[in-house]
Amino acid sequence: MKNKTFFYCILALLLFSVGACLGMFQMFLGANKMYYTAAGDSSVIVTDNVDDVYSSRYIFTAVKMIIDKNYVEKIDAELYNEMSVDLAKGMLRELGDSACRYADKKEVELIEKANLGEFEGIGIKPEIRTVDVDGIRVEKLFVGSVIPQGPAYKAGIQAGDVIELIDGQEILPYNPLAKAEKILKEYQLKPDRSKLKEVQAQIDKEYERIEKGLPILEAERKISYKSKDPIKIKTNINIYTLTPSSWTLEPAKQATFNGVPYLEVQCLTEKTGEKVGEIISNFKAAKKDFFVLDLRDVFGGTYDSAKEVAKFFVPNTSLGTLKTKKSSVNLLIPKNDAPWRGKLIILVNKGTNKYGELLANAISQDSSSVIVGEETLGDFKDISIYDFDNGGGFTLTTGEYILVNKAEKVSPQIQTECGPNGKEINKSVIDKALSYVGGAK
């Protein structure tokens, strides 16, 4: 019995030693893989690859580690999440491209739904543009497109309007201090003590304005989707109170005004092509020799859906070229044995952009069609969306479209103000347009 206890003790000791040896071995094995490099003069940071210490990723890792280990408060899951979001926002901000930005879960959902023709909110696609005001470049919030049938559409807001106030708050450009800086600089160039008080008052007023104002990116988000409550918007035209709602657009719709047949494309989704085909068959069956293709306020969707519409008019040609960093792709329009052979009036307005513009431009290459309306926006950026695990994501400009005729925007042969999608146009304009088109093919 005594012997047995002794044996177990020895065994335990042996096992302990073996464990300790292995533990030590494992530790030093791990330690050998590290390289210690002095960062500046006071800290030590470790990398797995000694060549990488100057790389951006290494710098970022170091910063992240220093914060992780030393920040005065405990960093909880929520704060880590906020750090990730603010990190992504910061990185994208550097690109100086308002189309590249962080999108939270809700916003990603809205973008994806919009591609199916489902919309929520007040129905304005905002657009940040830089304009010159008294020699200072400032960003202004424009109505890029008005989504057909939404609250803004019904209220009469139109593409190209400038949004001035949201819920009474003035919209501030990226650098709201520019004006104050300019006042100060002008004073410094021509100092005049008698005006010092006045200048000071002007600057104080600027600061007050900034304090009460709304940064343009927040304003953009606010009207994009954020609020569920009614929003009061003042544009350069009028004041509107818009109550957010949700609605679904029909991909395409047949209509007749004063005996003139209309094919209204409301949005470009997977189903638009099919529906356009159906309506064209109806026109053919009714022996129509022309119709109006309404592409006003058409902006979203995908180029595939645009191709599926284009094949009824200009099959076997090209929608344009998509140029990305790595490649240049010719966007071929599929074959179609029975395209529309009659005359065509294509309607565009300021709200027609991106795929709407590509489509209008491609179809107008055919001599039996004429473009009528307003000059389009000229927005040929291809935007991709990337997802994060938290349901959020970010958008990035990943390419540019080049039109078949290399045009920078779509310029109608007959220019006229023409209102929003679905609104009839003057009969005399239609007659004039028809006289422009050469005979049927």
Binding site: M27, Y54, E94, C100
Partner: protein, 449 residues
């Protein structure tokens, strides 16, 4: 059978215990080491970071960067995107003192902190009229030797006019490599003169001293930097020769600087004990003690002048002398920055400053957002002219308080000061109470969300 299972379990446990022992010992030694290396970030490996990164900060970086580099339609600068990302990430902390400095910003900051750079040794100021004025000349510095005088207006640097430019860009042109010449055109009472100082390393002077009437010594420190230690020694040595009886230490407008210097300067006025308590994450406290070797001068009855511009290291010093009762604090409440930042330089020349600790005064008082409460509240007079002692109400009151401490002025003479101080003290307490109520309300609101 049961017996065997228990035995096996015990053996496995013993094995694991052995396996973990080296790490345990190593870890303990490591923690012990770092506890003494206050303010210096701990070591870690990338594997450590990934393990700690419970939530996607690294993956977010990688994902966004990959998308930008591979897919963005234009070329993007990886470094700039990273810097912008770091700036963004820091906003999550809502802490105005946690900052990232890009290489050029950090370089300038380092010059300011070290107090040394290659230049001409003139302190410049932008006048209200937008002119560049030579405000001060450092004795025997290149500017002094080349004939530039205090009060000159700099109108051109290397024949480039200064009109309409900001001070920073003019200073950038004046500073330059050691040993090079710079052509400075000045306007001296309508006369245009050109001087050509040769740039060299100049030490900016942040501590000035003088002897006031009644044998009172006066030291003003405008920043805590690496030279502060030497400067305060020199000032005290010089004042000692003048046989001063008491001392006024002026920290008004001093925005702070290096923590070590706050400890060293405090050590001149307090002979032993705690200078400041540093409290880092998880409430871990560390007492920074008086460096007795630095307690190398006679101590005098002391008055410290402070105002709302006295922040950080200034507040550490004034809090220390106040709690140790070795000085009387005169002025208005201080800025109230009770946080300590650590600055970590990175390989590419950039640096990150993050808040790594709170500090408490020796009596355990958190002064953040409250400031140090002076013993005598004294406001500056409305008609105060910079550097004019006659209009400096706080200095005048400080002198009276000091003379009273020295027994050279009766208590009656302080009556007015005390009456006014009590009035201001009530206002200060109201302000603090209001702030605290607001904070409590905000906290409630946060929790409600």
């Amino acid at each position: 059978m049961k017996n065997t299972v228990v035995k096996i379990i015990i053996f496995v446990l013993v094995f694991l215990l052995g396996y973990q022992t080296p790490k345990f010992i190593y870890g303990a030694a490591k923690d012990g080491l770092y506890a003494t290396l206050r303010n210096i970030p701990q070591r870690g490996t990338i594997a450590d970071i990934l393990r700690n990164d419970t939530l996607k900060v690294m993956p977010t970086y990688d994902k966004v960067m990959k998308a930008i580099l591979d897919d963005y339609y234009k070329e993007a600068d990886e470094k700039k995107v990273t810097y912008s990302g770091i700036h963004g990430m820091l906003t999550a902390f809502h802490d105005p003192f946690s900052n990232f400095y890009e290489p050029d910003q950090y370089k300038k900051m380092k010059e300011d902190n070290e107090g040394n750079f290659s230049g001409i040794g003139a302190v410049l100021q932008m006048t209200e009229e937008g002119q560049i004025l030579v405000h001060e000349i450092i004795k025997d510095a290149p500017a002094d030797q080349s004939g530039i005088k205090q009060g000159d207006i700099i109108i051109a640097v290397d024949e480039k006019p200064t009109a309409g430019r900001d001070l920073e860009s003019v200073v950038k042109d004046i500073r330059g490599e050691e040993g090079t010449k710079v052509k400075i055109t000045v306007d001296r009472k309508g006369e245009h003169l050109t001087c050509e100082p040769i740039r060299r390393i100049v030490h900016t002077i942040n501590t000035t001293h003088k002897v006031l009437e009644d044998g009172i010594g006066y030291i003003k420190m405008s920043q805590f930097n690496q030279n502060s230690d030497r400067e305060i020694d020199e000032a005290l040595t010089d004042l000692e020769k003048n046989n001063i009886k008491g001392l006024i230490f002026d920290l008004r407008g001093n925005p702070g600087g290096l923590l070590d210097m706050a400890v060293n300067v405090s050590s001149r006025f307090v002979d032993k004990g705690v200078v400041v308590i540093i409290q880092s994450r998880g409430g871990i406290r560390q007492n920074l003690m008086v460096d007795t070797e630095k307690h190398n001068h006679k101590t005098y009855p002391l008055v410290v002048l402070v105002n709302s511009g006295s922040a950080s290291a200034s507040e550490i010093v004034s809090g220390c002398v106040k709690d140790h009762k070795t000085a009387t604090i005169v002025g208005t409440e201080t800025f109230g920055k009770g946080l300590v930042q650590s600055l970590v330089p990175l390989q590419d020349g950039s640096a990150i400053a993050i808040t790594t600790a709170k500090y408490l005064t020796p009596n355990g008082i958190d002064i953040h957002k409250k400031g140090i409460e002076p013993d005598y509240f004294v406001e500056q007079s409305d008609d105060y002219v910079i550097d004019d002692d006659k209009t400096d109400a706080q200095l005048i009151a400080g002198k009276k308080v000091l003379l009273n401490k020295l027994g050279l002025l009766g208590d009656d003479e302080l009556k007015d000061i005390i009456a006014k101080s009590d009035e201001l003290k009530v206002k200060y307490e109201e302000k603090i109470a209001k702030k605290e109520a607001e904070e409590a309300k905000n906290k409630e609101k946060d929790m409600g969300d």
